[in-house]
Amino acid sequence: MAESWLDFERPIIELERKIEELKSLDENGALKEEISKLENKASKLREDVYKNLNRWQKVQLARHLKRPYISDYIELMFDNFVELHGDRNFGDDLAIIAGIAKLDGKSVVIVGHEKGRNTKEKIRRNFGMPHPEGYRKALRVMQLAAKFKKPILTFVDTPGAYPGVGAEERGQSEAIARNLREISMLPVPIVVSITGEGGSGGALAIAIGDKILMQEHSIYSVISPEGCASILWRDSSKAPEAAEALKLTAQDLMGFGVIDEIVSEPAGGAHRDSKDAAERLKRAILNSLNELTTLPKEELVRKRIEKFLKMGVYENR
């Protein structure tokens, strides 16, 4: 069976499997001591590995093939989801899922990237890399939310906007720029969750909001580590060094004041227990929404624009 565990996960997974095996053999409790020893060992190993992850390991976790995607979160967090298709202009971009749903009984609008789980799905979803029509669909549905005063929840997980001829012909830049301008003025609460890979402008185009949440093992960057490495050192295999230079983890971004909250993940990452991951994320989203719905809409927009105004580091001399 082809498995998609990362190198640094494997020793933990193997130990966990051994424990499971012993448990199944242990009919009369004779192995109890041995099992508990191994369990201690496993928990210590988990702690060691995950406390000291370097940035490249974080990148790998953020891109983990088992990591929950928006379609998983829709299933685990929301009720009555109805998907809405198309940009009313050119087509329907499956790299972005948009729709309406209930979150704890309240109507919300959802927009997010979908990478696709298996090969066939990945191709259908274009690996979560949108064309302009994807961003235009996102904006259309967000404007629908604004018209009917429903909060917007976005889920960000993309390698980036698709680099292709059609994408350029149809105005990839214009679509992204327009989203940045228009979303900043929408008079409804917007909660953004970075759940995996925040790939540059292709991520930002649906990541303008009042609260920016970021899962513990997700990343967000101006350029991919591979792209950065090939510009800096003309060698994309130096991506691990580039990841360090780019400072792209949730913890880094919290330090730069770019995000508002880090949402914890279950031990080992969201993919080890997607139900638990969804619950934690849902709680954080609900807290943000509760806070935001008390604000008058003018203040909401003013605060949103101010929030971005503050971003940046420079000096006056």
């Binding site: 680099p163 830049s173 350029i223 730069f256 624009i305 580091v313 420079y314 000096e315």
Partner: protein, 280 residues
């Protein structure tokens, strides 16, 4: 306006020459024709044979576009830090400052164009590819705020092949959001915004303030787009169509309003400003 400390007026300054090739005779980068420098200068650095528009840097554009070549610079003291501790960044900044005579990749200031008071901002490709880091984002934002406060049109000329500046990481990406959000406020206030796209304007700059003009003017043959052509070619593994991502390609696909040759740029801009601000 507490931030308008230093005011500088650019006239015909000799330091500009540094950005352009030296020598009496020059070779056209496109057609290979040998050109006489004086002639090329008279022709605003456009090849007389093939129409190739040489890159000229932001100060030359000020001379060409604004009345009497005058420009009252604002916020010229803003300079970059190295928030990411990024490899080679400090050195890169120093080299760019030396090469261009600019402190950062954008100039903002007050100018008069065809009798119209405007706020004018220009990015410069010579400064780390005209890329947008914190300073460029902040200065463009201040230019937007000033146009809104003074109720005068905003004109931004771009030469930003570098997009969002990698060396300032996520902070550069956020400048796209910052500038675009402020353009939303400018639009709400009903202030005209005109962009002039020159070679090359790509990625994070093209996908934010450069694409948001009420009127978008491009110089002929400029490379304009989101992803660079080489990356696209590597991704799709096919030859790119002729003229891909050039101004004419964008015009054909509905992404720019006007293509104006450099010699007509000022005239075109003034016509547009005359439309917005009718003479009393």
């Amino acid at each position: 306006m507490f931030w308008f400390k230093k005011k500088k007026t650019y006239g015909l300054e000799p330091q500009q020459k540094k950005e352009l090739p030296d020598g009496v005779w020059l070779k056209c980068e496109r057609c290979g024709d040998i050109l006489y420098r004086k002639e090329l200068e008279r022709n605003l650095w456009v090849c007389g044979k093939c129409g190739y528009h040489f890159r000229i840097g932001c100060k030359k554009y000020i001379e060409i576009l604004s009345d009497d070549g005058k420009f009252e610079e604002l916020d010229g003291e803003l300079s970059s830090k190295d928030p990411m501790n990024f490899p080679q960044y400090v050195q890169k900044l120093k080299n760019s400052q030396k090469k261009t005579g600019l402190k950062e990749g954008v100039l903002i200031g007050d100018a008069t164009i065809g009798g119209h008071k405007v706020v004018f901002a220009l990015t410069d490709f010579g400064f780390i590819g005209g890329s947008m880091g914190s300073v460029v984002g902040e200065k463009v934002t201040r230019a937007i705020q000033r146009a809104k406060q003074e109720k005068v049109p905003l004109v931004i000329l771009t030469a930003s092949g570098g997009g969002a500046r990698m060396q300032e990481g996520i902070l550069s990406l956020m400048q796209m959001a910052k500038t675009s959000a402020h353009l939303a406020e400018l639009a709400k206030a009903g202030i005209p915004y005109i962009t002039i796209l020159t070679h090359p304007t790509m990625a994070g700059v093209m996908a934010s303030f450069a694409s948001l003009g009420d009127i978008i003017i491009a110089e002929p043959g400029a490379l304009l787009g989101f992803t660079g052509p080489r990356v696209i070619q590597q991704t799709i593994g096919e030859e790119l169509p002729d003229g891909f991502q050039r101004s004419e390609f964008l015009l054909k696909h509905g992404m720019v309003d006007i293509i104006a040759e450099r010699k007509n740029l000022r005239k075109t801009l003034v016509s547009v400003l005359d439309f917005f601000e009718e003479k009393k």
